[in-house]
Protein backbone atom coordinates (compact mmCIF):
# COMPACT_ATOMS: atom_id res chain seq x y z
CA UNK A 1 0.00 0.00 0.00
CA UNK A 2 1.70 3.22 -1.03
CA UNK A 3 1.40 6.16 1.32
CA UNK A 4 0.10 8.56 -1.31
CA UNK A 5 -3.13 6.87 -2.33
CA UNK A 6 -3.69 4.82 0.80
CA UNK A 7 -7.02 5.44 2.51
CA UNK A 8 -6.95 8.02 5.28
CA UNK A 9 -7.97 5.39 7.80
CA UNK A 10 -8.58 1.68 7.47
CA UNK A 11 -8.99 -1.38 9.62
CA UNK A 12 -8.39 -5.02 8.88
CA UNK A 13 -10.06 -7.87 10.74
CA UNK A 14 -10.61 -5.81 13.87
CA UNK A 15 -12.08 -7.88 16.70
CA UNK A 16 -12.84 -7.17 20.33
CA UNK A 17 -14.95 -8.66 23.07
CA UNK A 18 -15.69 -7.83 26.69
CA UNK A 19 -15.79 -11.28 28.26
CA UNK A 20 -18.39 -13.16 26.29
CA UNK A 21 -19.88 -10.01 24.76
CA UNK A 22 -18.59 -9.55 21.22
CA UNK A 23 -18.45 -5.82 20.48
CA UNK A 24 -16.37 -5.88 17.30
CA UNK A 25 -16.03 -8.68 14.82
CA UNK A 26 -14.07 -8.80 11.56
CA UNK A 27 -14.30 -5.10 10.97
CA UNK A 28 -12.77 -4.20 7.63
CA UNK A 29 -13.21 -0.55 6.83
CA UNK A 30 -11.50 1.82 4.47
CA UNK A 31 -12.15 5.55 4.63
CA UNK A 32 -10.84 7.45 1.61
CA UNK A 33 -9.40 10.90 2.16
CA UNK A 34 -11.80 13.79 2.61
CA UNK A 35 -14.96 11.69 2.81
CA UNK A 36 -17.64 12.31 5.44
CA UNK A 37 -18.86 9.14 6.99
CA UNK A 38 -21.72 8.56 9.33
CA UNK A 39 -21.49 5.53 11.61
CA UNK A 40 -24.93 4.42 12.66
CA UNK A 41 -26.37 1.48 14.54
CA UNK A 42 -28.63 0.67 17.45
CA UNK A 43 -27.58 1.36 21.05
CA UNK A 44 -24.87 -1.00 22.15
CA UNK A 45 -23.91 -1.87 18.58
CA UNK A 46 -20.28 -1.13 19.36
CA UNK A 47 -19.92 2.29 17.70
CA UNK A 48 -18.09 3.96 20.57
CA UNK A 49 -16.01 0.83 21.02
CA UNK A 50 -14.94 1.04 17.38
CA UNK A 51 -13.73 4.62 17.93
CA UNK A 52 -11.94 3.50 21.09
CA UNK A 53 -10.20 0.77 19.11
CA UNK A 54 -9.22 3.09 16.28
CA UNK A 55 -7.81 5.71 18.65
CA UNK A 56 -6.01 3.21 20.86
CA UNK A 57 -8.06 3.75 24.01
CA UNK A 58 -8.86 0.04 23.78
CA UNK A 59 -6.56 -2.67 22.47
CA UNK A 60 -8.17 -5.03 19.96
CA UNK A 61 -8.06 -8.79 20.46
CA UNK A 62 -7.16 -9.13 16.79
CA UNK A 63 -6.75 -7.05 13.67
CA UNK A 64 -4.90 -3.96 12.55
CA UNK A 65 -5.51 -0.26 12.14
CA UNK A 66 -3.85 1.86 9.45
CA UNK A 67 -3.59 5.62 9.32
CA UNK A 68 -2.63 6.87 5.87
CA UNK A 69 -1.14 3.44 5.12
CA UNK A 70 0.92 3.29 8.32
CA UNK A 71 0.16 0.47 10.75
CA UNK A 72 -0.70 2.24 14.02
CA UNK A 73 -2.07 -0.77 15.90
CA UNK A 74 0.77 -0.81 18.41
CA UNK A 75 0.91 2.95 18.99
CA UNK A 76 -0.22 4.72 22.15
CA UNK A 77 -3.27 7.00 21.85
CA UNK A 78 -1.22 10.19 22.03
CA UNK A 79 1.09 8.95 19.29
CA UNK A 80 -1.91 8.37 17.05
CA UNK A 81 -3.16 11.87 17.81
CA UNK A 82 0.21 13.30 16.83
CA UNK A 83 0.00 11.46 13.53
CA UNK A 84 -3.34 13.09 12.81
CA UNK A 85 -6.07 10.92 14.28
CA UNK A 86 -8.31 12.88 16.66
CA UNK A 87 -11.62 12.18 18.35
CA UNK A 88 -14.33 13.68 20.52
CA UNK A 89 -16.26 11.97 23.28
CA UNK A 90 -19.91 10.98 23.51
CA UNK A 91 -19.88 12.08 27.15
CA UNK A 92 -18.05 15.38 27.64
CA UNK A 93 -14.46 14.85 28.65
CA UNK A 94 -13.14 18.36 29.16
CA UNK A 95 -10.94 20.29 31.59
CA UNK A 96 -13.53 21.78 33.98
CA UNK A 97 -11.20 24.22 35.73
CA UNK A 98 -9.50 25.58 32.62
CA UNK A 99 -10.99 28.37 30.56
CA UNK A 100 -11.89 27.45 27.00
CA UNK A 101 -8.91 29.44 25.74
CA UNK A 102 -6.53 27.72 28.14
CA UNK A 103 -7.84 24.28 27.19
CA UNK A 104 -7.44 24.81 23.46
CA UNK A 105 -4.06 26.51 23.94
CA UNK A 106 -2.98 23.46 25.92
CA UNK A 107 -3.88 21.21 23.00
CA UNK A 108 -2.13 23.49 20.49
CA UNK A 109 1.04 23.59 22.63
CA UNK A 110 1.01 19.80 22.87
CA UNK A 111 0.87 19.58 19.08
CA UNK A 112 3.59 22.18 18.59
CA UNK A 113 5.86 20.39 21.03
CA UNK A 114 6.17 23.34 23.40
CA UNK A 115 4.20 21.77 26.24
CA UNK A 116 7.34 20.59 28.01
CA UNK A 117 8.79 24.10 28.32
CA UNK A 118 8.73 25.09 31.96
CA UNK A 119 10.98 28.12 31.66
CA UNK A 120 9.04 30.06 29.00
CA UNK A 121 5.94 32.10 29.63
CA UNK A 122 2.65 30.76 28.36
CA UNK A 123 1.61 34.28 27.41
CA UNK A 124 4.58 34.58 25.07
CA UNK A 125 3.46 31.57 23.02
CA UNK A 126 1.73 34.09 20.76
CA UNK A 127 1.25 31.84 17.75
CA UNK A 128 -0.24 29.03 19.78
CA UNK A 129 -2.57 31.38 21.64
CA UNK A 130 -3.76 33.09 18.48
CA UNK A 131 -4.32 29.76 16.80
CA UNK A 132 -6.35 28.55 19.77
CA UNK A 133 -8.38 31.73 19.73
CA UNK A 134 -9.00 31.39 16.02
CA UNK A 135 -10.30 27.85 16.47
CA UNK A 136 -12.65 29.10 19.17
CA UNK A 137 -13.88 31.92 16.95
CA UNK A 138 -14.45 29.47 14.13
CA UNK A 139 -16.69 27.40 16.38
CA UNK A 140 -18.47 30.55 17.58
CA UNK A 141 -17.02 30.23 21.04
CA UNK A 142 -15.36 33.64 20.87
CA UNK A 143 -17.39 35.17 23.67
CA UNK A 144 -16.97 32.13 25.94
CA UNK A 145 -13.25 31.78 25.69
CA UNK A 146 -12.36 33.39 29.03
CA UNK A 147 -14.92 31.40 30.98
CA UNK A 148 -14.03 28.28 32.95
CA UNK A 149 -15.23 25.22 31.08
CA UNK A 150 -17.44 24.09 33.93
CA UNK A 151 -19.46 27.30 33.66
CA UNK A 152 -20.15 26.96 29.93
CA UNK A 153 -23.63 25.94 28.81
CA UNK A 154 -23.80 22.31 27.76
CA UNK A 155 -24.09 23.02 24.04
CA UNK A 156 -20.95 25.15 24.14
CA UNK A 157 -19.12 22.38 25.95
CA UNK A 158 -19.99 20.09 23.04
CA UNK A 159 -18.41 22.62 20.68
CA UNK A 160 -15.35 22.82 22.91
CA UNK A 161 -14.98 19.05 22.50
CA UNK A 162 -14.62 19.67 18.78
CA UNK A 163 -12.33 22.66 19.31
CA UNK A 164 -9.93 20.51 21.36
CA UNK A 165 -9.86 17.90 18.62
CA UNK A 166 -9.24 20.55 15.93
CA UNK A 167 -6.32 21.95 17.90
CA UNK A 168 -4.44 18.74 17.14
CA UNK A 169 -4.79 19.48 13.38
CA UNK A 170 -6.32 16.13 12.56
CA UNK A 171 -6.20 14.43 9.19
CA UNK A 172 -8.94 12.10 10.40
CA UNK A 173 -11.53 13.23 12.91
CA UNK A 174 -13.85 10.82 14.71
CA UNK A 175 -16.87 12.50 16.33
CA UNK A 176 -18.81 10.40 18.83
CA UNK A 177 -22.36 11.80 18.81
CA UNK A 178 -21.22 15.42 18.70
CA UNK A 179 -24.72 16.67 19.51
CA UNK A 180 -25.53 14.07 22.17
CA UNK A 181 -27.80 15.55 24.82
CA UNK A 182 -28.14 18.88 23.04
CA UNK A 183 -31.69 20.12 22.41
CA UNK A 184 -32.76 19.67 18.79
CA UNK A 185 -32.73 23.39 17.97
CA UNK A 186 -29.11 23.69 19.05
CA UNK A 187 -27.87 20.49 17.45
CA UNK A 188 -28.21 22.17 14.06
CA UNK A 189 -25.54 24.69 15.11
CA UNK A 190 -23.16 21.93 16.04
CA UNK A 191 -23.57 20.14 12.74
CA UNK A 192 -23.23 23.41 10.83
CA UNK A 193 -19.88 23.83 12.55
CA UNK A 194 -18.97 20.27 11.61
CA UNK A 195 -20.02 20.87 8.02
CA UNK A 196 -17.80 23.97 7.90
CA UNK A 197 -14.69 21.92 8.68
CA UNK A 198 -12.04 21.66 6.03
CA UNK A 199 -12.75 19.23 3.22
CA UNK A 200 -9.22 17.89 3.78
CA UNK A 201 -10.27 16.36 7.08
CA UNK A 202 -11.64 12.86 6.74
CA UNK A 203 -14.64 12.72 9.01
CA UNK A 204 -16.49 9.92 10.71
CA UNK A 205 -19.36 10.83 12.99
CA UNK A 206 -21.72 8.74 15.06
CA UNK A 207 -25.27 10.05 15.08
CA UNK A 208 -28.70 8.67 15.82
CA UNK A 209 -30.80 11.35 14.12
CA UNK A 210 -31.38 10.12 10.56
CA UNK A 211 -32.22 13.58 9.22
CA UNK A 212 -28.82 14.78 10.32
CA UNK A 213 -27.12 11.67 8.95
CA UNK A 214 -28.69 12.00 5.52
CA UNK A 215 -28.00 15.70 5.42
CA UNK A 216 -24.32 15.72 6.36
CA UNK A 217 -22.86 12.34 5.44
CA UNK A 218 -21.69 11.35 1.99
CA UNK A 219 -21.30 7.76 3.12
CA UNK A 220 -22.91 5.63 5.79
CA UNK A 221 -21.68 2.60 7.73
CA UNK A 222 -24.26 0.57 9.62
CA UNK A 223 -22.94 -1.34 12.60
CA UNK A 224 -25.06 -4.03 14.25
CA UNK A 225 -23.87 -6.35 16.99
CA UNK A 226 -20.25 -5.39 16.45
CA UNK A 227 -20.34 -6.18 12.75
CA UNK A 228 -20.47 -4.00 9.67
CA UNK A 229 -24.00 -4.69 8.56
CA UNK A 230 -24.08 -2.47 5.51
CA UNK A 231 -22.31 0.47 3.98
CA UNK A 232 -22.93 2.75 1.06
CA UNK A 233 -24.24 6.11 -0.03
CA UNK A 234 -27.19 7.58 1.86
CA UNK A 235 -29.47 6.63 -1.03
CA UNK A 236 -28.26 3.04 -1.01
CA UNK A 237 -28.65 2.76 2.74
CA UNK A 238 -32.09 4.31 2.67
CA UNK A 239 -33.15 1.82 0.00
CA UNK A 240 -31.63 -1.23 1.69
CA UNK A 241 -34.54 -3.30 3.00
CA UNK A 242 -32.36 -5.10 5.57
CA UNK A 243 -31.23 -1.81 7.08
CA UNK A 244 -34.80 -0.57 7.17
CA UNK A 245 -35.74 -3.69 9.05
CA UNK A 246 -33.05 -3.68 11.76
CA UNK A 247 -32.47 -0.04 12.19
CA UNK A 248 -34.65 2.48 10.45
CA UNK A 249 -37.79 0.42 10.91
CA UNK A 250 -37.29 0.17 14.61
CA UNK A 251 -37.02 3.92 14.83
CA UNK A 252 -40.37 4.40 13.10
CA UNK A 253 -42.19 2.21 15.56
CA UNK A 254 -40.25 3.52 18.54
Amino acid sequence: MSEANAPALSTRGLAMSFGSLVVAKDIDLSLPKGVRYALIGPNGAGKTTLINLMTGMLKPNAGQIFLGGEDITALEPQERVRRGLARTFQINSLFPGLTALEAVTLAVCERRGSSGEFWSKLSSQSEAIDEAHEILLRLRLGDSCYQPTRELPYGRQRLLEIALALATRPKVLLLDEPAAGVPQEESGDIFEAVADLSQDITLLFIEHDMHVVFRFASHIIVLVGGMVFAQGSPAEIAADPRVREVYLGKRKHG
Partner: protein
Protein backbone atom coordinates in the same frame (compact mmCIF):
# COMPACT_ATOMS: atom_id res chain seq x y z
CA UNK B 1 -4.18 24.29 8.49
CA UNK B 2 -7.71 25.18 9.26
CA UNK B 3 -9.29 26.48 6.10
CA UNK B 4 -10.60 29.96 5.61
CA UNK B 5 -14.08 28.61 4.90
CA UNK B 6 -15.17 29.33 8.45
CA UNK B 7 -14.25 33.01 8.35
CA UNK B 8 -17.80 33.92 7.67
CA UNK B 9 -18.57 32.67 11.19
CA UNK B 10 -15.74 34.42 12.92
CA UNK B 11 -16.38 37.74 11.19
CA UNK B 12 -19.72 37.93 12.88
CA UNK B 13 -18.32 37.72 16.36
CA UNK B 14 -14.91 39.22 15.94
CA UNK B 15 -14.80 42.30 18.08
CA UNK B 16 -12.67 45.31 17.19
CA UNK B 17 -10.19 44.45 19.96
CA UNK B 18 -9.58 41.07 18.38
CA UNK B 19 -8.82 42.58 15.01
CA UNK B 20 -6.14 44.74 16.59
CA UNK B 21 -3.84 41.75 16.86
CA UNK B 22 -3.15 42.15 13.17
CA UNK B 23 -1.19 45.28 13.92
CA UNK B 24 1.48 43.26 15.74
CA UNK B 25 0.51 44.30 19.24
CA UNK B 26 -0.34 41.43 21.59
CA UNK B 27 -3.80 40.14 20.77
CA UNK B 28 -6.56 40.24 23.35
CA UNK B 29 -6.19 36.53 24.22
CA UNK B 30 -2.46 36.99 24.74
CA UNK B 31 -3.19 39.96 26.96
CA UNK B 32 -5.68 37.88 28.91
CA UNK B 33 -3.18 35.09 29.56
CA UNK B 34 -0.54 37.61 30.50
CA UNK B 35 -2.92 39.21 33.01
CA UNK B 36 -3.30 35.83 34.72
CA UNK B 37 0.39 35.71 35.51
CA UNK B 38 0.75 39.32 36.61
CA UNK B 39 1.85 40.05 40.19
CA UNK B 40 -1.04 40.84 42.50
CA UNK B 41 -0.50 43.60 45.09
CA UNK B 42 -1.30 41.07 47.82
CA UNK B 43 1.61 38.94 46.67
CA UNK B 44 3.99 41.86 47.04
CA UNK B 45 2.51 42.58 50.46
CA UNK B 46 3.00 38.94 51.43
CA UNK B 47 6.68 38.95 50.56
CA UNK B 48 7.27 42.26 52.29
CA UNK B 49 5.59 40.82 55.37
CA UNK B 50 8.06 37.93 55.41
CA UNK B 51 10.69 40.50 56.41
CA UNK B 52 8.75 41.53 59.52
CA UNK B 53 10.14 38.80 61.82
CA UNK B 54 13.56 40.49 61.63
CA UNK B 55 12.05 43.54 63.34
CA UNK B 56 9.03 42.29 65.24
CA UNK B 57 10.08 38.85 66.47
CA UNK B 58 13.88 38.83 66.60
CA UNK B 59 13.75 36.06 69.20
CA UNK B 60 11.73 33.82 66.93
CA UNK B 61 14.01 33.80 63.90
CA UNK B 62 14.89 30.12 64.27
CA UNK B 63 11.22 29.29 64.11
CA UNK B 64 10.79 31.65 61.16
CA UNK B 65 13.60 29.82 59.40
CA UNK B 66 11.94 26.47 60.01
CA UNK B 67 8.69 27.87 58.66
CA UNK B 68 10.46 29.03 55.50
CA UNK B 69 11.87 25.52 55.03
CA UNK B 70 8.47 23.93 55.63
CA UNK B 71 6.97 26.35 53.11
CA UNK B 72 9.59 25.41 50.55
CA UNK B 73 8.89 21.75 51.13
CA UNK B 74 5.14 22.29 50.82
CA UNK B 75 5.72 24.26 47.63
CA UNK B 76 7.50 21.27 46.12
CA UNK B 77 4.64 18.97 47.07
CA UNK B 78 2.20 21.42 45.52
CA UNK B 79 3.82 20.94 42.11
CA UNK B 80 2.98 17.25 42.05
CA UNK B 81 -0.14 17.17 44.21
CA UNK B 82 -1.76 20.53 43.60
CA UNK B 83 -0.87 20.93 39.95
CA UNK B 84 -0.42 17.43 38.56
CA UNK B 85 -2.78 15.61 40.94
CA UNK B 86 -0.25 13.04 42.16
CA UNK B 87 -0.79 12.11 45.80
CA UNK B 88 2.43 11.26 47.62
CA UNK B 89 2.79 10.00 51.17
CA UNK B 90 6.53 9.65 50.89
CA UNK B 91 7.70 13.08 49.87
CA UNK B 92 10.04 13.30 52.88
CA UNK B 93 12.30 10.87 51.01
CA UNK B 94 13.57 13.74 48.89
CA UNK B 95 13.72 16.13 51.82
CA UNK B 96 15.89 13.61 53.64
CA UNK B 97 18.09 12.89 50.63
CA UNK B 98 18.71 16.62 50.29
CA UNK B 99 19.43 17.00 54.01
CA UNK B 100 21.90 14.11 54.11
CA UNK B 101 23.51 15.11 50.80
CA UNK B 102 24.11 18.66 52.03
CA UNK B 103 25.26 17.46 55.45
CA UNK B 104 27.69 14.88 54.07
CA UNK B 105 28.94 17.28 51.42
CA UNK B 106 29.84 19.83 54.08
CA UNK B 107 31.48 17.15 56.18
CA UNK B 108 33.58 15.48 53.50
CA UNK B 109 34.03 18.08 50.77
CA UNK B 110 33.57 21.64 51.90
CA UNK B 111 31.10 23.82 53.75
CA UNK B 112 30.22 26.44 51.17
CA UNK B 113 26.39 26.57 51.45
CA UNK B 114 25.27 27.29 47.87
CA UNK B 115 27.28 24.48 46.32
CA UNK B 116 25.79 22.25 49.03
CA UNK B 117 22.32 23.27 47.89
CA UNK B 118 23.14 22.41 44.29
CA UNK B 119 24.53 18.98 45.23
CA UNK B 120 21.46 18.28 47.35
CA UNK B 121 19.12 19.35 44.55
CA UNK B 122 20.99 17.20 42.05
CA UNK B 123 20.95 14.12 44.28
CA UNK B 124 17.25 14.45 45.04
CA UNK B 125 16.49 15.11 41.38
CA UNK B 126 18.41 12.01 40.35
CA UNK B 127 16.54 9.74 42.76
CA UNK B 128 13.31 11.52 41.84
CA UNK B 129 13.94 10.94 38.17
CA UNK B 130 14.67 7.24 38.67
CA UNK B 131 11.57 6.64 40.80
CA UNK B 132 9.41 8.77 38.51
CA UNK B 133 9.32 5.89 36.04
CA UNK B 134 7.37 3.90 38.61
CA UNK B 135 5.32 6.86 39.81
CA UNK B 136 4.14 7.82 36.32
CA UNK B 137 2.60 4.40 35.72
CA UNK B 138 0.12 4.49 38.59
CA UNK B 139 -2.70 6.55 40.05
CA UNK B 140 -4.79 6.81 43.19
CA UNK B 141 -4.41 4.26 45.99
CA UNK B 142 -1.65 2.32 44.26
CA UNK B 143 0.35 5.49 43.97
CA UNK B 144 -0.19 6.43 47.61
CA UNK B 145 1.04 3.00 48.68
CA UNK B 146 4.06 3.11 46.38
CA UNK B 147 5.18 6.54 47.58
CA UNK B 148 4.60 5.49 51.18
CA UNK B 149 6.61 2.31 50.61
CA UNK B 150 9.49 4.13 48.96
CA UNK B 151 9.58 6.64 51.82
CA UNK B 152 9.65 3.95 54.51
CA UNK B 153 12.25 2.01 52.58
CA UNK B 154 14.58 4.97 52.43
CA UNK B 155 14.07 5.86 56.10
CA UNK B 156 15.01 2.30 57.07
CA UNK B 157 18.02 2.34 54.75
CA UNK B 158 19.29 5.54 56.38
CA UNK B 159 18.76 3.97 59.80
CA UNK B 160 20.76 0.87 58.85
CA UNK B 161 23.57 2.82 57.21
CA UNK B 162 24.63 4.28 60.55
CA UNK B 163 28.30 4.42 59.48
CA UNK B 164 27.30 7.07 56.92
CA UNK B 165 24.26 8.82 58.38
CA UNK B 166 24.99 8.51 62.09
CA UNK B 167 21.79 6.50 62.44
CA UNK B 168 19.52 7.52 65.28
CA UNK B 169 22.23 9.77 66.77
CA UNK B 170 21.99 12.01 63.75
CA UNK B 171 24.70 13.16 61.41
CA UNK B 172 27.46 14.88 63.36
CA UNK B 173 30.21 17.14 62.09
CA UNK B 174 28.19 19.28 59.71
CA UNK B 175 30.14 22.51 59.30
CA UNK B 176 28.72 25.24 57.12
CA UNK B 177 30.84 28.20 56.09
CA UNK B 178 29.44 31.71 56.36
CA UNK B 179 27.11 32.71 53.53
CA UNK B 180 29.13 34.65 50.93
CA UNK B 181 32.05 34.14 53.31
CA UNK B 182 30.58 36.80 55.58
CA UNK B 183 27.23 35.95 57.26
CA UNK B 184 27.87 33.34 59.95
CA UNK B 185 25.08 30.99 60.99
CA UNK B 186 24.60 32.35 64.52
CA UNK B 187 22.60 31.27 67.54
CA UNK B 188 19.87 33.87 67.03
CA UNK B 189 18.98 32.55 63.61
CA UNK B 190 19.34 35.88 61.83
CA UNK B 191 21.48 34.41 59.08
CA UNK B 192 19.46 31.22 59.12
CA UNK B 193 16.21 33.06 58.46
CA UNK B 194 17.75 35.40 55.91
CA UNK B 195 19.24 32.44 54.08
CA UNK B 196 16.10 30.25 54.22
CA UNK B 197 13.90 33.14 53.15
CA UNK B 198 16.17 34.05 50.24
CA UNK B 199 16.24 30.44 49.03
CA UNK B 200 12.47 30.15 49.44
CA UNK B 201 11.89 33.34 47.49
CA UNK B 202 14.19 32.39 44.61
CA UNK B 203 12.71 28.92 44.30
CA UNK B 204 9.23 30.43 44.54
CA UNK B 205 10.04 32.71 41.59
CA UNK B 206 11.09 29.69 39.57
CA UNK B 207 7.97 27.71 40.52
CA UNK B 208 5.77 30.69 39.76
CA UNK B 209 7.30 30.85 36.34
CA UNK B 210 6.81 27.11 35.86
CA UNK B 211 3.14 27.35 36.78
CA UNK B 212 2.59 30.07 34.18
CA UNK B 213 4.50 28.19 31.48
CA UNK B 214 3.11 25.86 28.80
CA UNK B 215 4.31 22.99 30.99
CA UNK B 216 2.36 24.38 33.94
CA UNK B 217 -0.75 24.46 31.78
CA UNK B 218 -0.24 20.82 30.84
CA UNK B 219 0.12 19.90 34.51
CA UNK B 220 -3.19 21.58 35.24
CA UNK B 221 -4.62 19.61 32.33
CA UNK B 222 -3.44 16.37 33.94
CA UNK B 223 -5.07 17.37 37.22
CA UNK B 224 -8.32 18.46 35.58
CA UNK B 225 -8.74 15.43 33.34
CA UNK B 226 -6.04 12.81 33.21
CA UNK B 227 -7.87 10.61 30.70
CA UNK B 228 -8.44 13.40 28.19
CA UNK B 229 -4.77 14.29 27.93
CA UNK B 230 -3.76 11.52 25.48
CA UNK B 231 -6.66 12.57 23.25
CA UNK B 232 -5.07 16.00 22.79
CA UNK B 233 -1.77 14.36 21.95
CA UNK B 234 -0.18 14.74 25.38
CA UNK B 235 2.29 12.27 26.82
CA UNK B 236 1.10 12.62 30.42
CA UNK B 237 3.67 10.21 31.75
CA UNK B 238 6.53 12.27 30.39
CA UNK B 239 4.99 15.36 31.99
CA UNK B 240 4.60 13.56 35.31
CA UNK B 241 8.17 12.31 35.24
CA UNK B 242 9.39 15.82 34.68
CA UNK B 243 7.17 17.35 37.38
CA UNK B 244 8.17 14.66 39.85
CA UNK B 245 11.86 15.25 39.20
CA UNK B 246 11.51 19.00 39.65
CA UNK B 247 9.48 18.56 42.85
CA UNK B 248 12.11 16.14 44.18
CA UNK B 249 14.87 18.65 43.49
CA UNK B 250 13.01 21.39 45.37
CA UNK B 251 12.27 19.09 48.30
CA UNK B 252 15.99 18.28 48.30
CA UNK B 253 16.82 21.97 48.51
CA UNK B 254 14.42 22.34 51.46
CA UNK B 255 16.14 19.44 53.22
CA UNK B 256 19.55 20.94 52.50
CA UNK B 257 18.52 24.25 54.03
CA UNK B 258 17.40 22.58 57.24
CA UNK B 259 20.68 20.63 57.41
CA UNK B 260 22.74 23.74 56.82
CA UNK B 261 20.86 26.07 59.16
CA UNK B 262 20.68 23.58 62.05
CA UNK B 263 24.10 22.04 61.25
CA UNK B 264 22.82 18.54 61.89
CA UNK B 265 20.65 15.94 60.18
CA UNK B 266 18.44 13.48 62.01
CA UNK B 267 16.46 10.51 60.76
CA UNK B 268 13.37 12.63 61.35
CA UNK B 269 14.14 14.34 58.02
CA UNK B 270 13.09 11.12 56.26
CA UNK B 271 10.25 10.17 58.56
CA UNK B 272 6.69 9.38 57.71
CA UNK B 273 5.59 12.20 60.03
CA UNK B 274 7.38 14.69 57.84
CA UNK B 275 5.63 13.35 54.74
CA UNK B 276 2.29 13.51 56.51
CA UNK B 277 2.89 16.96 58.00
CA UNK B 278 3.72 18.53 54.67
CA UNK B 279 0.59 17.02 53.17
CA UNK B 280 -1.45 18.48 56.00
CA UNK B 281 0.14 21.91 55.55
CA UNK B 282 -0.63 21.93 51.86
CA UNK B 283 -4.21 20.76 52.30
CA UNK B 284 -4.78 23.32 55.07
CA UNK B 285 -3.45 26.18 52.99
CA UNK B 286 -4.97 25.05 49.71
CA UNK B 287 -3.40 22.68 47.19
CA UNK B 288 -3.08 23.89 43.62
CA UNK B 289 -2.48 27.48 44.68
CA UNK B 290 0.98 28.94 44.65
CA UNK B 291 0.58 30.32 48.16
CA UNK B 292 -1.32 27.35 49.57
CA UNK B 293 1.76 25.57 50.90
CA UNK B 294 3.23 28.82 52.18
CA UNK B 295 0.16 29.86 54.13
CA UNK B 296 -0.39 26.29 55.32
CA UNK B 297 3.19 26.06 56.58
CA UNK B 298 2.86 29.30 58.53
CA UNK B 299 -0.39 28.27 60.21
CA UNK B 300 0.81 24.74 60.95
CA UNK B 301 4.20 25.70 62.34
CA UNK B 302 3.02 28.65 64.41
CA UNK B 303 0.15 26.60 65.81
CA UNK B 304 2.52 23.78 66.71
CA UNK B 305 4.91 26.16 68.38
CA UNK B 306 2.14 27.73 70.45
CA UNK B 307 0.68 24.32 71.30
CA UNK B 308 3.99 22.94 72.47
CA UNK B 309 4.07 25.69 75.09
CA UNK B 310 0.69 24.65 76.47
CA UNK B 311 0.01 20.99 75.86
CA UNK B 312 2.43 19.33 73.44
CA UNK B 313 0.86 15.92 73.93
CA UNK B 314 -2.38 17.20 72.39
CA UNK B 315 -0.77 18.65 69.29
CA UNK B 316 -1.97 15.98 66.87
CA UNK B 317 -5.38 16.13 68.52
CA UNK B 318 -5.59 19.83 67.70
CA UNK B 319 -4.23 19.58 64.20
CA UNK B 320 -6.56 16.64 63.55
CA UNK B 321 -9.60 18.72 64.42
CA UNK B 322 -8.35 21.65 62.36
CA UNK B 323 -7.70 19.39 59.38
CA UNK B 324 -11.14 17.80 59.55
CA UNK B 325 -12.83 21.18 59.82
CA UNK B 326 -10.90 22.61 56.90
CA UNK B 327 -11.47 19.73 54.50
CA UNK B 328 -15.15 19.59 55.44
CA UNK B 329 -15.87 23.31 55.29
CA UNK B 330 -13.22 24.53 52.85
CA UNK B 331 -12.48 21.80 50.32
CA UNK B 332 -9.94 24.05 48.60
CA UNK B 333 -8.13 24.94 51.77
CA UNK B 334 -7.98 28.21 53.61
CA UNK B 335 -6.86 30.14 50.54
CA UNK B 336 -9.60 28.52 48.48
CA UNK B 337 -12.13 29.64 51.06
CA UNK B 338 -10.76 33.18 51.08
CA UNK B 339 -10.82 33.33 47.28
CA UNK B 340 -14.45 32.26 47.26
CA UNK B 341 -15.30 34.84 49.89
CA UNK B 342 -13.66 37.71 48.00
CA UNK B 343 -15.31 36.57 44.77
CA UNK B 344 -18.71 36.74 46.46
CA UNK B 345 -17.81 40.08 47.98
CA UNK B 346 -16.85 41.67 44.69
CA UNK B 347 -19.96 40.38 42.95
CA UNK B 348 -22.18 42.20 45.42
Amino acid sequence: MIPKSGNRLSDKIMRPQDAMSLAGAPSQPQEYLRSLSRWHPLEIAFWLATLLPFFLFPTYLSLASQIAVAALFALSLDIILGYAGIVSLGHAAFFGIGAYAAGLFSKFVWGEPFSGLLIAAAMAALIGYLTSFIIARFRHLTLIMITLGLGLLLAEAANSAGWLTGGSDGLQGVKIWPVFGYFKFDLYGTTAYGYSLAVLFLVFLAVRRLIHSPFGLSLRGIRENWTRMPAVGADSRAHIRKAYTIAAAIAGIAGAVIAQTTQTVSLEALSFERSADVLVMLVLGGAGRLYGGLVGAIIFMVARDQFSGIAPQYWYFGIGILLILVVMLLPNGILGGLAKLTARWSRK
